[in-house]
Amino acid sequence: MLSSKTETSQNVKVSLFITCLVDIFFPQVGESVVKVFDKLGVDVDFPEAQTCCGQPAFNSGFRHDAKALAKRFISVFDGDRFIVSPSGSCTSMVRVFYKELFRGDPKMSEKVDKLSSRTFEFTDFLVNVLGVDDVGAVYKGKVTYHDSCHLLRELRIRNEPRRLIESVRGVELVEMNLSDVCCGFGGTFSIKMPEVSVSILDEKINSIVESGADAVVSTDMGCLMHIGGAISRRKIPVKVMHIAELLASNKKDA
């Protein structure tokens, strides 16, 4: 059932960059990532010293603090293994914004370049590095996909998650209206400007409901905890799933 390139996955060494959100709030997403990698025979490890990549500080303007955590991240993930994360946003921090953070510092910039060349978001890694777009998952249901902003516009990944979703047995992918419009999360934005954030979220929730899907899937727990926060508050009967959970699923009925 797995695609032909899977055999090459067996020599691939990956360090999980699990992200604080998944570690603290959504550990089942991390487990799903591990299950998918195990199934593909990828050699996975988890550097236990990891905490946060520093994005919240960076996005809030606290560059000094962000630098300290970025340096820590760089040393924790030292080596030559791939670094894979179930988040387009945290991956963007490492791959795109570390460069910005250490601009004008040639020594750090060199380290950052090396680090970012082996850092990947989960779906990008599956499809573009391992060459896998079918992991043999089974899930029965109508699924709609929300494009996370950082994955789409910083890492330019649009089709990979959709290909992975469409290859899941029993899944029907239905596109929501304006799937690539922000859900209004924006990290600390959701707390600093809650009214604006919720107003943007309302439109996203409407799109999800109108799609007729019974599950909304995305690549980032930031977006999903935001979308899920409204879905749970309003008791909307739509399931909220990280794509890793969908890809780890082997259930005939949801």
Partner: protein
């Protein structure tokens, strides 16, 4: 470079109060009419733009080219501005330099006074909005009328533009009917055609009686001394040709090197702004009326204004903010703008571009909330015809806000936030403290947790839980489960 041809009148500097985005957006979000108008207009602009750029095979290539020319122009601004000045003078025009808004107003009032100007017509110009030129005219007892329909509406309503290219986007047809009836003494008309006719009749007299026309500038061509104005109503054509004196005000970033650059810039501007291949009118103005011209102004004055732009020029991290050609595409695509509208941004420029240029033009301490008025979704960057990396600049400005607050040692939320970030960083720098904190927080949350959800949190997180549930901390974090998966 300072030299002058007319009188300068002393005009008091504008008093700018600290802009409060959060407060203003909160009010805007409750205005249902505004929200309907915003969704309708931004949807329309989005779709016409998308359709229009779809006609190009290599839209991205055009954007790269336009950006390259802007890089060249802004990187050699001194050279191109002097070239522009020389060529405007050669064409029989006058050039004036203004360091700030007060000087620009002073120059323009000086020209008006010297010629005993009693009434002025204006075509749409964000630069004149920026310096509150109408206010200066009124203070000097000179009548001034906006002739762009949208600007005319907001002048009657005594408001500011809420969109760069559609200044009255926040007003419904009904709002305008009522406004015209109140201010102009006409019946309450229901149809846009009727309202336009009213404005047209009123404005026709203004054009014929005006002693001076004031316009903005979309592009100023250095090598020919030509200024270019794009519009759809014909009012700018009349403003720049009927009165005896034409004064054009430009921010100094509007210069482009060559005439042959224009087709590219006109295409990316028009398609990004209104989705048009070509606007109804495009005026190319090189100096005043020539001897064998049948009409046109006797005098042409170009006012080149800095007003904070040299500060942006001196900042390599944010310099590309000056590449903006004011198309408004970033406003139309922005989820924040779509929900809160232009007035929430507090000053004349709104949306993502406003969030980056307002703090730079007015000073970061005047608009510290604006760089934070974004979810950093990046949609603005993708529609920008000159590829300004707005999210990156927002992030840079956020760090400047924090630096500014630290320098001033502001008390209150600033210090609390700083303390919180320090504590957070401290706990993230040690795996053990991190683990301990997660464990403690897990137990602390238990009395408030319901089915894995928190329905109410204390300030500042209450902003989240007012209308959204927050996830509870998991009993076993991933790192513990990992141990189980590998050792268990």
């Amino acid at each position: 470079m300072m030299h002058d041809t007319g009188y300068r009148i002393q005009v008091a500097e504008m008093e700018i109060k600290k802009l409060r985005f959060k407060e203003a957006s909160s009010v805007a979000l409750k205005n249902q009419n505004l929200r309907k108008a915003l969704v309708k207009t931004t949807d329309r602009f989005r779709s016409v733009r998308k359709q229009s750029i779809g006609e190009y095979e290599d839209w991205d290539g055009l954007r790269n080219k336009a950006r390259g020319i802007k890089e060249e122009a802004i990187g050699n601004l001194d050279k191109y501005l002097e070239m522009l000045e020389g060529n405007v003078i050669k064409a029989g025009g006058n050039v004036h330099w203004a360091r700030d808004g007060a000087e620009a107003c002073g120059v323009i009032l000086g020209i008006a006074r010297e010629r005993n100007v009693k009434s002025v017509v204006k075509s749409k110009s964000m630069a004149t909005e920026e310096i509150e030129l109408n206010h200066a005219f009124e203070g000097a007892g000179i009548g001034v009328v906006e002739t762009d329909l949208g600007e005319y509406i907001i002048q009657l309503a005594k408001e500011r533009p809420s969109h760069i290219i559609a200044p009255a986007i926040h007003k419904s047809k009904e709002d305008v009917s009522k406004l015209f009836s109140e201010k102009l003494g006409v019946p309450v008309y229901g149809e846009p055609e009727q309202l336009t006719r009213v404005a047209r009749e009123k404005l026709r007299d203004e054009f014929l009686n005006a002693d001076m026309g004031v316009s903005g500038v979309n592009f100023a061509v250095a090598e020919t001394g030509t200024i270019v104005i794009v519009e759809n109503e014909g009012n700018a054509r009349l403003t720049t040709t009927v009165p005896k004196v034409h004064v054009a005000l430009m921010g100094m970033e509007k210069v482009i090197p060559r005439f042959e650059d224009l087709p590219l810039f006109l295409s990316v501007l028009m398609r990004s702004a209104t989705g048009q291949k070509m606007t109804t009118y495009v005026s190319f103005i090189t100096g005043p009326k020539k001897d064998d011209d049948l009409d046109g102004p006797e005098e042409f004055h170009l006012v080149i204004m800095d007003n904070g732009r040299s500060g942006i020029l001196a900042s390599p991290e944010t310099r590309e903010s000056l590449y903006c050609i004011r198309c408004g595409a970033c406003l139309n695509i922005c989820p924040v703008y779509r929900h809160v509208g232009g007035h929430s941004y507090g000053w004349v420029y709104s949306g993502p571009i406003g969030a980056i240029i307002t703090p730079q033009l007015l000073g970061i301490d005047k608009a510290p909330e604006l760089p934070f008025a974004s979810s950093l979704c990046g949609a603005c960057k993708d529609v920008c015809p000159v590829k300004i990396d707005i999210p990156r600049i927002l992030l840079e400005l956020r760090s400047r806000v924090i630096e500014d607050e630290m320098e001033k040692q502001k008390i209150g939320t600033g210090i609390l936030q700083r303390l919180a970030v320090r504590l957070w960083r401290f706990s993230m720098e040690s795996k053990n403290i991190y683990n301990l904190l997660i464990r403690l927080s897990y137990f602390a949350q238990l009395p408030f947790t319901n089915k894995g959800r928190l329905r109410s949190l204390p300030f500042p997180f209450s902003g989240w839980t007012d209308r959204r549930d927050f996830p509870a901390i998991a009993e076993k974090p991933f790192r513990k489960r990992w141990e189980g998966m590998r050792n268990g």
